[in-house]
């Protein structure tokens, strides 16, 4: 047994890079999917609407831990190959992000008045041009506070990856706790780091919301 030292803390800080990696992966792959789902939900095709709404409902109804287990244990079975933990965990958070951001952005798109889209169509714009120049900028502004709020949820939820042994911030805390027998101190450090990451985002999200409400 050894005492809790600054190097334990530094190890935890270093593990933040894996938390960050998960967040970046989830956003890089999840955000485009979210956009696609949001577009499908608000589009003209009935089938696309049904499919996208179904996916959103399904994924939102499953706990993140369930997604994680499904991809971690399921991918090797269904794909027949062993994949690195980063891939399966990354896939789980990608799906999580796609569903929740998809729902947030769907709301944003639907909050833009239909008359805006009609006005654009009446000027001869294509559906894509209408979305790109008229709907999306307004929807984005409306959805930005909730989007930043989701980012906080995503950062905190990556701690669940520790359950399958993926070493990110929370798992680094577990390891330090086990090595030093100082669970309280170890987890206090973990909590402090999560807080330091999330609190500024929460503040930002709030100020965005105030701005949006003020602008109306």
């Amino acid at each position: 047994m050894r005492g809790f030292t600054i190097s334990d803390f530094l190890t935890m800080l270093a593990a933040v890079q894996w938390t960050a990696t998960l967040v970046v992966l989830a956003l890089a792959f999840g955000a485009p999917l979210a956009l696609l789902l949001a577009r499908m939900c608000t589009g003209r095709s009935r089938i696309a609407r049904l499919v996208a709404t179904g996916i959103l409902q399904l994924v939102q109804g499953v706990p993140v831990l369930g997604l994680l287990m499904f991809f971690y244990f399921g991918m090797p079975v269904f794909l027949g190959i062993k994949v690195p933990a980063l891939v399966s965990v990354g896939a789980a958070f990608t799906i999580f992000t796609a569903a929740f951001l998809g729902e947030i952005w769907r709301g944003g798109i639907q909050a833009v008045h239909v008359a805006q889209g009609e006005a654009a169509a009446c000027l001869g714009l294509t559906r894509w041009q209408t979305f790109r120049h008229v709907i999306a900028p307004q929807a984005f502004r409306i959805a930005l506070p909730a989007t930043v709020g989701f980012l906080v949820q995503l950062i905190k939820n990556t701690s669940l990856a520790s359950v399958v042994g993926f070493v990110e911030l929370a798992r680094a805390g577990q390891l330090a706790s086990a090595a030093t027998f100082q669970p309280l101190l170890s987890y206090a450090c973990v909590a402090a780091i999560y807080f330091a990451l999330c609190f500024p985002l929460t503040l930002w999200s709030r100020s965005l919301e105030d701005k949006l409400n003020g602008a109306r």
Partner: protein, 243 residues
């Protein structure tokens, strides 16, 4: 050939038949004013003319082209058929200049940059708002917003303009400036179909007056004739109710 030929158009929303066999022709250069009670289908008719609404029967031809035919490129058609709404529907996140030039640039009518700005200036001059070129819609009065909306249509150089109660959402003192712009357009020979409750405009500027009632063209003719001698009690009632 008339610019707009509407024959026997039927339109239902669910079970409710809103247009019940509309016939109307509009020649090039004509100013047609549609009046009628709220719910008589005036807005719906305008929205059918530029293909915003599907129809359930009959046909509408604009410049010889069937609006509701599968082979018609609605986008191309709409580049030439402007519509102005009661609620302006400007894009709130864009400046006046960008509101005006967005469609001409995206549809390839004009290049981005100086040429686009020149176009914005030109159409804003037509509605008397050059100094607002860099303002946002939220900074303008209702009357100014509506004039920008008209300028936005003009930037596409339409050969037909549709106006749906464009002064109804305005404070009374702002109505005049918008009507003035429309009168100027009329003088310049623009073909216009407009729904309005401004009876003076209907009487003095329109070349044809159409009274819609219960989803049909109940009466049509020269404004002076209809106002002086309404042939049906419905029109007579309507005229006395808006006086």
């Amino acid at each position: 050939m008339a610019l707009v030929e509407i024959s026997n158009v039927h339109k239902s929303f669910g079970e409710v038949e809103v247009l019940r066999g509309i016939d109307l022709t509009v020649e090039k250069g004509e100013i047609v004013t549609i009046i009628g009670r709220s719910g008589s289908g005036k807005s719906t008719l305008l929205r059918c003319i530029n293909g915003l609404e599907q129809i359930n029967g009959g046909e509408i031809k604009v410049a010889g082209e069937l609006v509701h035919s599968r082979s018609t490129d609605l986008r191309k058609l709409r580049e030439h058929v402007g519509i102005v709404f009661q609620q302006f529907n400007l894009f709130p996140h864009m400046t006046v200049a960008r509101n005006i030039t967005l469609a001409p640039v995206l549809t390839g009518k004009i290049a981005k940059g100086d040429a686009a700005r020149e176009l914005a200036r030109k159409v804003l001059a037509q509605v008397g708002l050059e100094e607002k070129i860099d303002a946002y819609p939220g900074q303008l009065s209702g009357g100014q917003q509506q004039r920008v909306a008209i300028a936005r249509c003009l930037a596409m150089s339409p050969y037909l303009m549709l106006f749906d109660e464009v002064t109804s959402a305005l404070d009374p003192e702002l109505v005049g400036e918008v009507l003035k712009v429309m009168e100027d357009l009329a003088t310049q020979g623009m073909t216009m179909i407009l729904v309005t409750h401004e009876m003076n405009f209907a009487r003095n500027v329109a070349s044809k007056l159409v009274f819609m009632h219960a989803g049909m063209v109940h009466e049509e003719g020269r404004p002076a004739d209809l106002f002086a001698n309404p042939a049906t009690p419905e029109l007579a009632n309507f005229i006395s109710s808006v006086r």
